[in-house]
């Protein structure tokens, strides 16, 4: 904490939020470092071979991402709950215990990932080392901890709204959090049958990132638009309902686009293809809504970095989740692209565009208040820092996505269309000169992104610290 910080002057919920945001930012840096190592292993397979193999570095890379985004979401909700409910958080102490339990669990899990790495083929390996299921690798003991912490969190938020007042935003938010926590349980069981395993695994992964997380960020965005540009609550809430209808209307059955090739019946080709093709529509709606609202308010905002990141979120969400998802969502295309670098390309831009951006926006919302409710408009000191980090992160993410897309095209063509989807076809694609140069470009853009992340951390630690900025009169 610096001398000018106002940690104690923050409300209880906001104090909790700052803790969550700090942990999120640290994990974001870790995600970048492990991403670089994993990217480098594509180019130099000998790098850390038998020491930190790709399966470990990639697991830490994607797990750090899931966890830091979750930390960011929990922080964001803790940040806005008191403001939205008009009352103090009901269970600060409980929330604080939850935070430390979650953080301790994360540290233990990561240390075990890095040191123990793998175990024998027994149930105890899955309980104590890792579950070996992409994105939800956390061992079973940690799953139970995560659910417990989510319940504490849910209680805290729902009870605070009950004590204070409810609104359209809080109603959607609480129902969404309930679904988000409940869905995680679908991933907490073991089965020998891989089709069954994947069927329920997708319930967690899809229903999180393509349904409940999207609605959660829509709630944060709605609150953010009211706060940053003073958008009308009536209009924002109506839009939120429109988005929920479109998001769940397309996203729930859009789950079917993961059920094309895992042993599930053929009707999923039609159901999944149709509904997932509709999934970009709510993202277009969000984009139109945010840009329109911003325009009507003449962009008079007192927090430029936060607002810029909110706008980056709507564009990123539309491009990464919407457009890049649509590219390969029809089964006729997906047959060739599924499980190639196409998926990696989509994954990178979707997670970045939809979720990284809005978390960074919330970091800036918090830091403004934390540094004494200062004016972070055009007169902010050292604005080159946030601008540099934003340019580096955006250029890095987009460049990496395009490089991976080119690699994906090569792979789909050489491995699938020509190579008969065999191992020799796979390696022929991996050795192709365009594929290799794409991977080199990916690495370069990854380095840019990492530099951007450290710039971001530096800016968050220093922005407004000298208190040369004006203090805003109202909160």
């Amino acid at each position: 904490m610096n001398n000018n910080s106002n940690f104690k002057s923050l409300s209880l919920g906001q104090q909790l939020a700052v803790k969550y945001f700090s942990a999120a930012m640290l994990l974001f840096c870790a995600q970048m470092v492990f991403g670089l190592v994993a990217g480098l292993q594509f180019i130099q397979p000998d790098f850390l071979y038998q020491t930190l193999d790709f399966n470990v570095t990639r697991m830490v890379h994607i797990n750090a991402m899931i966890v830091w985004l979750l930390f960011g979401f929990l922080g964001s909700v803790y940040w806005l709950v008191e403001d939205e409910a008009g009352t103090e958080l009901v269970g600060y102490k409980l929330g604080n215990i939850g935070f430390w339990v979650l953080l301790t669990a994360v540290v233990i899990v990561v240390v075990v990932y890095l040191v123990v790495q793998i175990g024998p083929g027994t149930q105890s390996s899955l309980w104590f080392i890792n579950e070996g299921r992409e994105y939800i690798e956390a061992p079973r003991w940690a799953d139970i901890g995560i659910v417990a912490v989510m319940l504490i969190f849910f209680y805290n938020i729902a009870a605070t709204f009950s004590k204070g007042k409810w609104s359209g935003i809080s109603g959607v938010l609480v129902l969404d959090l309930l679904a988000l926590a409940g869905i995680y349980v679908a991933g907490m069981f073991y089965t020998t049958n891989i089709s069954m395993d994947q069927f329920w695994w997708w319930w967690v992964v899809h229903m999180w990132v393509e349904a409940t997380w999207e609605v959660l960020v829509a709630c944060i965005m709605a609150w953010g638009l009211i706060k940053t540009i003073g958008a009308s609550r009536q209009i924002v809430t109506t839009w939120l309902y429109v988005e929920v209808a479109l998001m769940f209307g397309s996203g729930i059955l859009g789950l079917g686009h993961h059920y094309f090739w895992i042993g599930t019946p053929e009707y999923w080709l039609g159901v999944g293809g149709f509904f997932s093709a509709l999934e970009p529509i709510p993202l277009v709606a969000m984009l139109v809504h945010a840009v329109y609202d911003a325009g009507t308010k003449n962009l008079k905002v007192t927090n430029h970095p936060a607002f810029a990141w909110f706008i980056a979120h709507v564009f990123g969400n539309f491009l990464g989740a919407g457009v890049w998802g649509f590219f390969q969502t029809l089964p006729q295309v997906n047959l060739y692209t599924h499980g190639t670098q196409w998926s990696a390309s989509h994954g990178h831009l979707a997670f970045y565009g939809a979720y990284v951006t809005i978390n960074i926006a919330m970091f800036y919302m918090a830091v403004q208040k934390f540094r004494g409710n200062i004016d972070m408009g055009s007169n902010i000191q050292n604005k080159y820092r946030w601008k540099t980090s934003m340019v580096l992160l955006n250029v890095g993410a987009l460049g990496m996505t395009i490089a991976l897309l080119i690699a994906g095209y090569e792979q789909a063509f050489i491995e699938r269309a020509v190579g008969g989807s065999t191992w020799s076809g796979y390696f022929a694609a991996q050795s192709d000169s365009t594929f290799i140069s794409s991977m080199n470009w990916r690495m370069l853009f990854g380095v840019l992104m990492t530099i951007g992340t450290f710039f971001l951390a530096w800016d968050l630690l220093t922005i407004g610290k000298k208190n040369k900025e004006e203090i805003l009169k109202t909160a």
Partner: protein
């Protein structure tokens, strides 16, 4: 609020949101019940574990216009015919091993996972194993000592040694054989199988 703008009102969209979500959830639940039935082991799409006692083919099905698995004559894995429960036990060991060794953070299985190593969906039928007579031995040797028996096809990307025991390796091979019999709606595209002699059922 006038009549003309009712469709733009908050309460109207709130109802739409609730109704849309509920209807979609109901449809999903109905489809889930049906799908779970169809993907339970022993079904037409996901054969029972004892399928590893037979040959498995993955060939073009003219009626469906896609590649589809079919089950051939007896070909017990490692020369030993297994009962349904013994087959399940062996395949279960394979699944536990696949998860505990974190295979999916390099490989894809049914197309899901990481893209650093080949897809394993039809690995049992991959023509890279040469001929069916040596396939089982090659697979076992590879899993137990992947460094010495690397299958990198001219690249320097090698599987690390994951301390897989012989029994775990047998479980993994059984797992891969069983998985190759799952009907994946023609995935992966244009798959070219290893040559296998067709015998009477």
């Amino acid at each position: 609020m006038t009549k003309e703008t009712k469709w733009m009102s908050q309460s109207f969209w709130k109802k739409i949101a609730i109704w849309t979500t509920s209807v979609m959830l109901l449809i999903l639940m109905a489809l889930t019940f049906d799908t779970v039935k169809q993907i339970t082991e022993g079904s037409e799409r996901v054969p029972s574990y004892s399928v590893i006692n037979n040959k498995i083919f993955y060939e073009f099905d003219k009626d469906r216009d896609i590649l589809a698995p079919s089950i051939g004559g007896p070909a017990p894995l490692f020369g030993q015919k297994l009962s349904e429960s013994d087959a399940e036990e062996l395949i279960n060991l394979g699944k536990l091993t696949i998860q505990a060794k974190n295979c999916m953070n390099c490989h894809t299985i049914l197309g899901n996972g990481a893209y650093y190593a080949p897809d394993l969906t039809k690995a049992w039928l991959d023509k890279g194993w040469g001929s069916e007579s040596v396939r089982e031995t090659l697979m076992l040797n590879f899993l137990i000592d992947p460094e010495k028996n690397a299958r990198s096809f001219g690249t320097n990307r090698k599987m690390p040694n994951l301390n897989i025991t012989e029994s775990e390796a047998k479980g993994v091979v059984a797992y891969l054989k069983w998985m190759s019999s799952i009907d994946t709606n023609g995935f992966p595209a244009h798959f070219e199988s290893i040559k296998q002699v067709k015998e009477e059922k």
